[in-house]
Symmetry: C2
Subunit: 343 residues, 2 copies
């Protein structure tokens, strides 16, 4: 009689490791805080050399670096650590593509505290965090932290969006960047198209970060701001493009539709709304990172979600956009939806 072989019998190891998965976040965050990747990139490739460089304990660094090796962020050979291609590109402070600042926002105390209350969030179907209840109201500290820490992550998507806007062709274009945050989406368009004019809309304190970035990238002469809520502030009209990057997932669909009606009114005929989002497939479990984003919205917002393309298309149609098309962003787990206003 056939009995299950030990090879197919599950073991408790994966459950054990998932209950310990928070340790992966802590280890990566600690390595970033102690600037371990930068130190290894600069040649400190043993626990002793790292201790000399960072001032931390040799034992602590040995255990941390072994753990990072197990997680695939370092390699280890003959007791010597080295960066992987991934950590050299994204975690070494000397790399222009360094994403280390992202750790600050993604695993912030507030967000982790919201996940500590995940059971309650599942019970009520939304965040228990009072500030997360209404993202149409200012929450300066949170969004300034977002603007300051998440800018480096936008490079692939902002360049992809600039490409969709044919920025390199250099034709005059009036662009509204809604909930601009760090402002990098609009700023990238302005950098690539010297005839683009950007209007950034966000809360006043957040716009300061966008304006700092506009200055840093030398586009202030074509960069203006409108302070306030995306739902209430006068947006202006006659835009060629309106950018809606990572905003819809904070709200329920009727609220999104209200915003999209305002966007439709602000666009000139033939103008385009450009939505950047985590868009899961209809099954809502693929692709993994986009689909998993729903849980982040459940924990952090009152009514947010990661919507499918069918949901977006229908909602945009209700708001006046006859047709929307979906474009996966290269190198990123996000997608862009382009919706054109009838000419």
């Amino acid at each position: 009689m056939a009995t299950p072989t030990t090879a197919t019998r599950p073991t408790p190891e994966r459950i054990f490791n998932t209950l310990n998965a928070y340790q992966q976040t802590a280890a990566l965050k600690t390595a970033i805080e102690l600037d371990v990747f930068t130190a290894i990139g600069a040649g400190a490739n043993s626990a002793a050399a790292l201790a000399a460089k960072t001032g931390a304990a040799e034992k602590g660094l040995r255990i941390l670096c072994d753990y990072l090796t197990i997680q695939g962020f370092l390699t280890k050979a003959q007791g010597s650590y080295a960066l992987t291609q991934e950590s050299a590109l994204f975690l070494d402070g000397k790399s222009p593509a360094c994403l280390a600042s992202m750790a600050e926002f993604l695993s912030s105390k507030q967000t982790r505290s919201n996940f500590d209350s995940l059971t309650e969030a599942v019970r009520k179907g939304g965040s228990v965090w009072s500030e997360g209840r209404d993202n149409s109201k200012p929450n300066d500290e949170f969004w300034v932290a977002f603007a300051r820490s998440m800018a480096p992550l936008t490079r692939p998507s902002s360049e992809f969006i600039a490409g969709l806007l044919r920025a390199e062709e250099g034709k005059p274009a009036k662009v509204l960047d809604i909930a601009a945050g760090h402002g990098m989406y609009g700023i990238t368009v302005a950098r690539k198209n010297p005839k683009a004019e950007i209007v950034a809309l966000d809360w006043p304190s957040v716009l300061q970060v966008a304006q700092e970035n506009a200055k840093r990238f030398g586009v202030t002469d074509r960069y203006s701001v409108r302070a306030g809520s995306a739902f209430e502030t006068e947006m202006g009209t006659g835009y060629d493009y309106v950018l809606l990057t990572n905003i819809f997932h904070h709200f329920d669909l009727p609220t999104c539709e209200t915003l999209m009606r305002r966007v439709h009114a602000a666009l000139k005929p033939g103008g385009k709304a450009i939505t950047l989002e985590f868009v899961p497939n209809e099954d809502r479990v693929t692709p993994p990172t986009a689909a998993a984003f729903s849980l982040i919205m459940l924990a952090n917002t009152d009514k947010g979600d990661a919507y499918t393309f069918a949901e977006y298309e229908k909602m945009f149609r209700n708001a006046g956009f006859a047709k929307s098309t979906l474009h996966p962003v290269p190198e990123m787990p996000q997608q862009v939806i382009v919706s054109e206003k009838s000419a």
Copy 2:
């Protein structure tokens, strides 16, 4: 000229997911708290049916179950969720092998708080938790929680150890179970060998849990206890076996050696010390779960670690054991070291 292809170029996705890895722990813990796996096992296989059964919000359950599907703990087909082989065996409350209670201890508030201070722990080379500084002192609440929650995980290793002790042969055997905790290692030997007599050593409040379990498994007539520290309490002598399960990793090697000398004195000639541990290979980065255990000890203890077999063998030799052998535990990321006292 050859340029790197986009296929080999790393993307930020894995770093993004690692900074969010704490969410995997939260989701699994929430599913256990809401008894979602048991409800699905009982046939509630849609978000609506789960909402009716658990009283939680349908939206919350849909997002949670989608996330668990992404993580591989559920399957989803035509909108209907089902248990995997793994979750049916280990997460459904109706399964005799259910490990759900483990969530309580592994991701306890205290342990997660210790990981919140991981950067400081790496700096000093040991836990910043004052209670973790000396595991030779009682810490009742913590170890009672351990004893109550971790017992189910011991099945594979306790049965393997009972096999190494040839418990099924039923020969008279006097067994000392040091830092017995839930007591399941000694109790399993007693269950399989009606002529085995177990002496359990631990802090008084923890021994109450062991005694409850001894009663539950009907071995109280051959179960006695010695309350106190493994480093100070009179152990008795003439033991055939001394069990040292998951104790050495809390201490530095000189402290372990002190304990092992006491164990050597307590054994009769030809008696065996049985050590259950996370034993990484010499490279300290494989096998992954055993090697990663070092970080848990760094965060939670003053001087603990996951030691290699070479370190254990040398330390045991110093304590009087001429020879030790290593035995991997089937289905588990741990290993057993058998050390024999000369006849």
